[in-house]
Symmetry: C2
Subunit: 340 residues, 2 copies
């Protein structure tokens, strides 16, 4: 069992810096595209054997030090009563976006162990196959709510913030329900076998610290507080969060994700030395010629400075059309140059 | 003549903190929508009398302390040989995105005084009407190049960064040509009567500091260096730039734009005390109930701390559907509470 990812998350010494990639399974891989010719994205997520296969593809191809369950952030929305689908080239589309108190009142509560059982089954199956740790994950309340309220991707989150500012009580009820649901779902993932958890608050960087503290912090803290007793590493991730790293750390997590905009050493010092960090190569560098790519990997490693508690990753997910050989080269380079 | 905007840009004392808004003319105003029923966006930009009328609408309606020429960042692309149009609901679309050295080699050089003469004529007409200073503007090389290369808006700038990393020589030639064009265009705007200039590098926050220094800094510095002798305030604006404010200031500008993610005092201190700052209310707060809106305006003013050199603005442009009465209330509130 390769445990350097778990050791780094716990800030223990490692033989080499562990590396995995957000969206390490996906369209940039030919094996994945072959499966997608036969199945929709949601079929891959909701069929345990297919989710297992997709999760394993990058483990076989890349030599990364952790697997992340193949799934989608939005899965918990459907059983809450927020159906959605993926539209080719446009990403997720929510059928009927949440806009009002009545919409939020009408949401269902559900038991993830029953209604997201296929995901948990995929986790159980994966644990029999994997020689690296398995990361479970879910979206955080702001990020999930922004999809539910905006109806899909947004560039400004005007409707989401409109609900926050205009009807704080409804916002807090929605965020609290999402936090309950996500917390229970994450707990169920660990019970099923996940050895670490990542909470994706991908779009949180759109908020200033005052809004984060008022509208997001209590709900994210509730999620992390509810998971601490599980004893697994808890990764807290967002993008554009240079101004939020300290308050995110305060909200919870034992590993803080840093995106590429913030130098890793600066981000680590903002998050606090008592925490591990994950990051932070710009995903677009995977399109660069090899020499530039590897020199920027070296720059990230130099900022980590060989300290215990660094998990190498991108600052955000692998992009479509990324050359697989470059991803593989990064894994090999990190392992080769960080041998202790 | 109301000169408090120009005085604040020069860090001189003012009777009240000046206020204007990025995109203060636009779809949120009924007068503007009425004109748009008869004319396309590009017709408004390219017909001096219409551009004048649209520029004046918010001056009449809001009581702001500066006018900004109604125009579009992309106008200089068409005479370079990069035609584009605006598609309803989807923003700008470049007909044939730049992808190769050959595409960049084929770009035209042009004389803005001739081929963007309608814009300069609008400036001359406006100066006869206005009792507040007139701001001219243009897009910076990265932001313009990103539209030209991606073909429109982008969430990750993968193709733009792909050209930077993969063919730096072609990137630098493109950026240098854009800098020349933009610099000459901005100079012509001042010759026509613009009393201050804003350089919009709106999407620059997607770059880390290393990439900014290598691929952007020399070109932005060339623009500002070429304008210093004009003696007008030079506003340097971007979003998501918390990590770039110091290097942006080094590149140039006498006023640095700070978006809402970075507290104004933190941004000011990163930009340096020898510079004025502009910002930084979150534009979505204009959708909030009045009490919350004005308390957040107060919070921005408190961070400015009554120091000379603060121009009140949003952190980015006014959003569609913003209630006009809230915009007006902010102007009144800033003026009422900052009387010296």
């Amino acid at each position: 069992m390769n445990d350097r990812f778990l050791r780094a998350c716990r800030r223990e010494s490692v033989d080499r810096t562990p590396v995995w990639f957000m969206r390490q399974a996906g369209r940039y891989m030919p094996e994945y595209r072959a499966l997608r010719e036969k199945h929709t994205l949601l079929q891959l997520c909701r069929t345990p054997e297919l989710a297992v296969e997709v999760t394993l593809q990058p483990i076989r191809a890349l030599g990364v030090d952790a697997a992340i369950l193949f799934s989608d952030l939005l899965l918990p929305l459907a059983p809450m009563g927020i159906p959605f689908d993926f539209v080719a080239g446009e990403g997720p589309q929510i059928e009927t976006p949440l806009r009002s108190k009545a919409d939020v009142d009408a949401l269902r509560r559900f038991e993830p162990r029953q209604e997201l059982a296929t995901t948990l089954e995929a986790i159980r199956l994966l644990r029999r196959e994997l020689q690296v740790p398995l990361i479970g994950f879910a979206g955080a309340p702001f990020t999930l709510a922004s999809y539910a309220i905006e109806g899909g991707h947004s560039s400004n989150f005007a409707k989401t913030k409109g609900m926050m500012y205009g009807d704080p009580a409804t916002w807090h009820r929605l965020a609290a329900q999402l936090a309950d649901t996500v917390g229970e779902y994450l707990r169920a993932q660990v019970e099923a076998g996940a050895q670490a958890l990542q909470v994706f608050d991908s779009w949180i960087g759109a908020l200033d610290e005052a809004d984060y503290r008022e509208f997001v912090f209590p709900h994210v803290r509730a999620i992390f507080d509810g998971l601490v007793d599980l004893g697994v590493p808890l990764i807290h991730f967002g993008t554009g969060t240079g101004h939020l790293l300290a308050v995110q750390r305060e909200a919870g997590g034992t590993v803080i994700g840093v995106d590429w905009r913030t130098p890793l050493d600066v981000g680590w010092s903002r998050a606090g030395e008592g925490v591990a960090v994950q990051g932070n190569l710009d995903p677009t560098l995977l399109f660069a010629p090899r020499e530039r790519l590897l020199s920027r990997v070296d720059a990230v490693l130099a900022k980590a400075g060989g300290r215990d508690g660094h998990v190498f990753n991108l600052g955000h997910g692998i992009l479509p059309h990324t050359p697989v050989e470059n991803v593989k080269a990064v894994v090999e380079h990190v392992h080769a140059t960080t041998a202790r």
